[in-house]
């Protein structure tokens, strides 16, 4: 007897029915690194053995059954191996539960979601990345990408600001960048500490350390307060707003443009962003 095709009560054949957009897949934790008091870097691979296909700047909803999900920017470049990184800062119930996990255990994730950095627009140009605090995590996906395909980009400059030296993330990578000829790296901390000989002050002070060409493409990610001040510096340099990209943070609860929490005026950050050109959102009163 031929098998009867499974039919949903809605009348559609099971094969025609799109999957549940809330059903996550499993990712195994290859490695966990305690990078600061609050943050953990998770190196992950998909449990089904598949490769995580994503673009730098995209996000995932990472979670644990019984706790919930949180939005996280992918923190490594798709050019790197078969693993990918996520950084979790313990701020609430879900993130704290995630940060109790150890290598060998699993978490669930949905994604990649949203719109990442516009690689096509960035290629062949000077690039400045301005990362403040935990904003280094999503931009690291782009930084690594540029370093791995260095010849596709012109001059590459990176500004990184942290609250104090102890809050610096990815310290061994920072050490590499300080020495690297592939990136002109400038860093600062809001508050110095014993043994710190680097810059102390706000991130915008780093603009005086180097020269940024007005034709450069700019990527900014950091705490909400930082964007306005960085844009002010870029305006002084005469960088057109269509060349400035912001990676924004909002409460991206569902990640699929439905639940409403991440809205900026009529945009849903989780699907329209999280990366936006400044020219695209500067007329939106709730954006910056």
């Amino acid at each position: 007897m031929p098998a009867t095709p499974r039919v949903c009560a809605c009348g559609k054949k099971a094969a025609d029915v799109k999957p549940n957009i809330f059903l996550p897949r499993e990712a195994e934790i290859v490695r966990v690194e305690k990078t600061t008091e609050l943050e953990r870097v998770f190196t992950l691979r998909l449990a089904d053995g598949g490769r995580m296909e994503f673009a730098p700047g995209q996000i995932v909803e990472a979670g644990l059954f019984g706790y919930g999900e949180i939005p996280l920017g992918l923190a490594s470049s798709p050019t790197r191996k078969n693993t990918f990184d996520l950084v979790v800062r313990s701020v609430g119930r879900v993130s704290s539960a995630l940060n109790r996990l150890e290598a060998g255990q699993s978490l669930q994730l949905r994604g990649p979601l949203g719109r990442g950095f516009p690689l096509e627009e960035l290629r062949g140009h000077d690039l400045l990345v301005v990362a403040g605090g935990i904003g280094l995590c999503p931009t690291r996906s782009l930084i690594q990408y540029v370093l791995d395909r260095r010849q596709e980009f012109k001059r590459f400059t990176l500004f990184y600001g942290a609250r104090d030296p102890k809050q610096q993330l990815f310290t061994s990578e920072l050490a590499d960048w300080r020495k690297s000829k592939d990136v002109e790296y400038h860093e600062t901390v809001d508050k110095g500490a014993a043994g710190w000989t680097g810059n102390v002050g706000v991130i915008t002070a780093l603009f005086s350390k180097t020269r940024i060409d007005p034709g450069a493409k700019i990527v900014i990610c950091g705490p909400p307060i930082m964007f306005k001040f960085v844009v002010r510096e870029l305006d002084k340099l005469g960088v057109p707003h269509r060349n400035v990209y912001l990676d924004l943070e909002r409460r991206m609860k569902c990640g699929v443009g439905k639940c409403g929490h991440c809205q900026i005026n009529d945009k849903y950050v989780c699907v329209d962003g999280p990366v936006f050109a400044l020219s695209e959102i500067e007329h939106l009163e709730e954006a910056l």
């Binding site: 809605c10 957009i21 005026n265």
Partner: protein, 347 residues
């Protein structure tokens, strides 16, 4: 498709037969209330169907997007979806609520199709009933009039001696088998049309301006902070306006465990953009960022959503004029006609 007629004396038997065949959700009076109020509920007998209702407390979207809906269930690290749509008949929906359902259909459909809503929606047969009684807060005759009701399967209109049932789909045609229907005469069809048209004149409240002019002036008023502060000054941030709105579809998602602390479910709940923490996120170390911290900002966001932001997607405002928010508002400051009519015309 076609118009059919059923006599008043045969109508009860039609509804009874339908109830016997499948779940029928219809307007019914809420028990033990001094002032009679109505809800959509599953009917167990035809006498409970109250097509003379004015408006229901909650809109019928709850049949497809319930206040609490499991998205998946889990056991340890394994999860499965919870979709078990039931074929049912939504009977006696007013046309403005059908317009709202058509909007939520489009919004759950766009970009990332949400089967948790759509599967329930597609399994339903929707029958409109003409508005026999108009609620004291209604203004559906003056908002989004260019957007016509769509997505219903049949339209029932009370006329002299019986009802005209105009079918719109094959699902609507299938209803005919449950009752003693005859082809409607030209005069019955004409009477049904007049009954529906004349209802429009009975709305007690009215919005001034076209959808486009309203959208323009509301959007232009964004930066008028004194106006929004004044409009929202008595707002309790309770979210009642969201809760009763037929086009609101924001939600929160929460996990919960069974007592075994191993199995449980991921559940979505209606959420309200008027509540204080809707756009708030934690930054760690006790710090937080609230992207709509002020009541006026949240109040304004709701009006932008209803009158301006979604118009391009929906072909008109995301408001159908049911008046539920206006009646439900704790401080009675939510009436869209009062709010929008106060906003000055855009320059």
């Amino acid at each position: 498709m076609h118009s059919h007629y059923i006599k008043e004396k045969d109508f009860k038997a039609f509804v009874a037969k339908l109830i016997a065949a499948k779940p029928v959700i219809g307007p019914t009076a809420k028990a033990s209330r001094q002032q009679e109020r109505f809800v959509f509920a599953q009917l167990s007998r035809p006498e409970d169907l109250r097509l003379d209702y004015d408006v229901t407390i909650l809109p019928p979207k709850k049949e497809f997007f319930p206040p609490r809906q499991d998205l998946l269930s889990f056991d340890g690290g394994r999860a499965k979806p919870c979709l078990e749509p039931v074929e049912k008949v939504l009977f006696g929906v007013h046309f403005y609520d059908v317009k709202a359902l058509d909007m939520t259909d489009a919004l759950f459909q766009e970009r990332n199709e949400d089967r948790n809503y759509l599967a329930h929606r597609e399994a339903a047969t929707i029958v409109i009933s003409n508005v026999q009684k108009v609620s004291p807060r209604a203004f559906w005759a003056s908002i989004g009039t260019e957007v016509k009701p769509r997505g219903h399967d049949a339209w029932l209109t009370k006329v002299a001696g019986g009802y005209v049932l105009e079918t719109a789909t094959t699902k609507g045609e299938a209803l005919l088998g449950f009752g003693s229907f005859a082809a409607a005469s030209e005069s019955q069809i004409g009477e049904a049309r007049r009954v529906n048209e004349s209802a429009a004149g009975k709305c007690p409240k009215a919005l001034r301006g076209t959808s486009a002019s309203v959208a323009k002036k509301v959007r232009a008023a964004f930066g008028n902070e004194p106006l929004w502060t004044e409009l929202a000054k008595d707002c309790f941030s309770c979210g009642s306006c969201n809760t009763v709105c037929p086009t609101c579809y924001c939600f929160d998602v929460q996990d919960w465990w069974n007592v075994d602390q191993k199995s449980g479910a991921r559940t979505r709940y209606w959420d309200s953009c008027l509540t204080e923490d809707f756009a708030k996120l934690s930054l760690g170390a006790g710090a937080a960022e609230n992207f709509r911290e002020e009541r006026a900002e949240r109040f304004r966001h709701r009006f932008m959503r209803k009158a301006a932001y979604l118009n391009a997607k929906l072909g008109g405002p995301a408001c159908v004029g049911c008046g539920r928010c206006s009646a439900a508002c704790t401080a009675d400051i939510a009436d869209p006609t009062e709010v929008i009519n106060k906003i000055p015309e855009a320059a």
